[in-house]
Each structure stands twice: as structure tokens, then as C-alpha cells.
């Protein structure tokens, strides 16, 4: 579903150029859930943003569904295949757009018909009642906002969902709800996930495999079973697992 090879991402120009990601390579199979873990600043979110096309200063190869993506331009088909859920639900919803406006814009941009019915279906999918349809973000809690953001990402009926720490801005009890929702949605829609997190427990809950990153490099790709056993091949991985207790 997603193949990344020899990916370098940088910011700025020499002499101030910062290399955020160096020589990253991994691939995610259809229907798989893949985690990217590491400390803050290790470049995990940067990879996600480069895949989504939000950063254009990268080199290497990114293939989605067997098609290499263009560095700057993405076509309609790309946006119908790949969607993203952002970290902070307080920043990812337009403060002046109601839930209805957000979802109907997403649907109409994706060329969907029968928008009224689809909005009701999307809200139901993410566990929000019809009563939420005409609310504004400031009338919603953090968890509810993240559900709206997930509904917006699902509007395109994508097959690959990029999750950028979707629960780190939420309360612990709400985190569990959102994680369960994501698990259910994946089973229901046959989605492929790539999830960034610094929380190994979250990754262990959602993902099948994961890549451990440090200083912009992928240190190790391992299975979740190995993570649970604490059996990292690399010194850094074992250190990370031990630190997260």
C-alpha cells in the first residue's frame, strides 16, 4: 500500500539546512497497521507529512498503492486514497466552520453525491449523534473534535489513513475511546494505518509492526510481538522500551 525508499526530508537551505529524515525506508502492506515511534524531533511526523504532500522538500521514493507520488503536486486520486488525522484536534478544525460545513466541504471536494445521507453516516461511523451535525468546534470536547476530524478524513473513503499522534492531545480515558474507534473503523472499512506516536502502549494496541526512529533515521523495524517481549535488536530500541516501562 505504501512503500518508502531512501527518503530524505530537509528544511531550509544551506547553511541553515536541517536534515529531519535521512535515508528512511519501510513498506506497509494493504490492511496493515504500521507504527512509527521515537522521541520528539526524531522525524516521525515529518515522514507522515512528506507522504501527505504537506512538505515538498524531500527526495527519494514514495509509492502509494504502487504509484510513485510527485514531489509537489498530488492528483485527485491521491487525495481519495490517502487521508490524514492530525495531532491536535483543537488546531485541526476551522474555528468558524460547523461540523456540517467541514464534512459537506470534504464530501463535495471529493466529488461525492447524496451529501446529507453521507454526513449522517459519517457521524454515525465515528460515534457522534445527529445532534452534533450543526455544532461549532467550540461547542465540542477534545474527543468529540477528534471524532469529527476522523470523520472528515473518512469522507473521502480513503484506503490509507495517516495518523499523526491522534490521541496525544487527549485525556487518558478519551484516548482509549478514540483508539477503540480507530481499531473498529479499520476492521469495518479495511483501512491501512500508518500511525505516529511516542507512546509505545498506543502503538502496541493499534499496530502490527513498527519502526523505531532516532535522529531522523530508522533504527529498527520490528513486530509488535517483539515489542511486547521487549526484544529489540538495537540498543536504542531496548532503551526506549525500558524507558516507557
Amino acid at each position: 500500500m505504501l512503500t518508502i525508499d531512501d527518503l530524505d526530508v530537509w528544511f531550509g537551505y544551506p547553511p541553515d539546512r536541517v536534515d529531519a529524515v535521512r535515508n528512511a525506508a519501510f513498506s506497509v502492506a494493504k490492511g496493515e497497521s504500521f507504527g512509527l515511534v521515537g522521541e520528539s524531533g526524531s522525524g516521525k511526523s515529518t515522514i507522515l507529512r512528506a507522504v501527505a504532500g504537506l512538505i515538498d522538500s524531500w527526495s527519494g521514493r514514495i509509492e502509494v498503492d504502487g504509484h510513485p507520488v510527485h514531489a509537489r503536486r498530488r492528483d485527485r486520486a491521491f487525495y481519495k486514497t490517502v487521508q490524514m488525522v492530525f495531532q491536535d484536534p483543537y488546531a485541526s478544525l476551522h474555528p468558524r466552520h460547523s461540523v456540517d460545513a467541514v464534512l459537506s466541504e470534504a464530501l463535495s471536494l471529493q466529488g461525492m453525491d447524496d451529501i446529507d445521507r453521507r454526513i449522517a453516516k459519517l457521524l454515525e461511523d465515528v460515534g457522534l449523534g445527529r445532534g452534533f451535525r450543526f455544532r461549532y468546534p467550540h461547542q465540542l470536547s477534545g474527543g468529540q473534535r477528534q471524532r469529527v476530524a476522523i470523520a472528515r478524513a473518512l469522507a473521502a473513503e480513503p484506503r490509507l489513513l495517516l495518523l499523526d499522534e491522534p490521541t496525544s492531545a487527549l485525556d487518558v480515558s478519551v484516548q482509549a475511546e478514540i483508539l477503540n474507534l480507530l481499531t473498529d473503523l479499520r476492521a469495518e472499512h479495511g483501512l491501512t494505518y500508518v500511525m505516529v506516536s511516542h507512546d509505545l502502549a498506543v502503538v502496541g494496541h493499534i499496530c502490527d509492526r513498527l519502526a523505531v526512529m532516532q535522529h531522523g533515521r530508522i533504527v529498527e523495524v520490528m513486530s509488535v510481538e517483539a515489542l511486547r517481549k521487549g526484544a529489540g535488536e538495537q540498543e536504542y530500541t531496548r532503551h526506549l522500551i525500558a524507558a516507557s516501562g
Partner: protein
Amino acid sequence: MSETSITRPQSRREWLLSDAPQTRRQARLGAIYQGWLTFRANKLAMFGLVILILLVFMAIFAPWLSPQSPFAQNLAGRLQPPSAEHWLGTDALGRDILSRLIHGSRITLFIVGTVALIAPIIGLFIGTVAGFAGGWVDQVLMRITDIFLAFPKLILALAFVAALGPSIGNAVLALALTAWPPYARLARAETLTIRHADYIAAARLQGAGPLRLLIRHIWPLCISSLIVRVALDMAGIILSAAGLGFLGLGAQPPMPEWGAMISDGRVYILDHWWVAAMPGLAIFIVSLAFNLLGDGLRDVLDPKGDKE
């Protein structure tokens, strides 16, 4: 417990303040009502609003409200002090000052309304395009803005009027053309803070093009702060228009423009103070009202003032 609370129909207020609106219309009206409640809590802003509503009424019904024609001269009764017959006195040609003030409110509203419509729209457009596009577009547009900002506003307006010829229409045009740069700066600054926001990125991921992002996502967030700024600048615009009128480059005699009226009264200011003071007072009251209104609007509209 009590069935009545379930079956009781919602009052209109509850309907508006509902946490879970049922329709798009209800949600929108609810948001407006919420804003109105915030605005109403500000007594001074309400005071400003009342004055401005009165001004609009005065302008609409000027012919019926004014005791005399604003142009009727009576040289025998010139420079009369305020009296029962002429509440605000008469000017050098014996014209009733009250009638002239009432008719002048039309001109004032015309100037303010037109400038307030043109300048922010030019500013919004240039500012958001510059901020959103970045790169050389930003450079070019902002340097043009700098050039306009580098001139004193009134002097630049004077130059425009001198080039176009003195008339009220040209004065408005000149004011609008000199008033937009601050709005462009403001809109650009707002755009810079929101263009990298996650919700813009999310819309981009839905396939939204730059034009759509600009109009549907960025403008709604810039407009509120622009409206506040316009309301606060309105007083300045009235004064600039009065200034042009005073210099004889705005409204031409015998139009009862307030600035021109002050200019007429200048000669007699020591012996017949009311000729200049009355229009001055009118300008002062209207300017103050706009400032108060702007303050109230800031509470309602400025996103940075939001409590949540």
C-alpha cells in the same frame, strides 16, 4: 420527574442558545445571537450603536426632520446665535445650521460607507494574497503597500484630489485609495499565522485549491479583525473627509458637508463660535460613536478575545 419540562415547547431564546442545533439555520442564528448577547453586555458599545442608528434615521428622513431648507439664505438673519427659531443658530448666509447638519449626515454617511466598503476589501484582497502566496508575490505587494504607507495619508489624498479635481466623489476615492494599506498589513499578518494551521492542511488534503482556501478558509478568519479595525478607523475617516472639506477639496459649496461647514465658520470663530462649533460637535459625537461601536465589536468578533 415532571413531564411538563419535556413536552414544554422551547422558548425562542432556548432555541437560539441550544447546544445541539437541529438545522444549519438554527446554528447560524444561534451564533449571531450569542454575539449579540456579548455585544449587548457592553453598555458603551450599545450607546455608540444607538447614536449611529439615530444618525442613519436622520439621514434617511432628513427632508422631513429639518426645520428649513439647508440652502435657504436669509441675509437679514445671518450669524444668529442659537434661539428658539434656529436651535443651533444660523451661519454667515443666514442658513439654519441644524437643517444643514441634518442634511450633512447624508454626506457623512455616504463618505464613511463608501470608504469603509472599498478600503478594507482592497486591503483584504492584497493582504491575504500576499500572505498566502508568499515568495515574490508577497514581496511585490508588500513593497507597494510600503510605498503607500510611506506618505502621510492626508497629503496623499490631497495629491489624488488635486489630480482628479475637487469633488465629494473624488475625495471618497482618494480616501479609500490611501486607507487600504493598514488593512493589507493586518490581513497579511493574520494570514501568516493561519496559513500553516492544521485545518488548512486538512482542507488541502481534501483537494482544496488555493482560491478555495483563500476565500472559504482564510477570509472568514481575517474579516472579523478587519471589521473591528474599520469601525475603529471610521472616526479617522470622518475626520479626514472633514479635513478635505475644510481645505476646500471635498464637498463644494453649498453642500452642507460638516468639514466644509467648520471651514466656513472659521472666519467668525471668535465672535460667532456656534457656526464652527456645531458641526465640530456633530463630527465629535459621530466619531465617538464609531469608536465605541468598534470597541464592542472587538469583544464579539476578535478571535483572539475568545474565552474558549
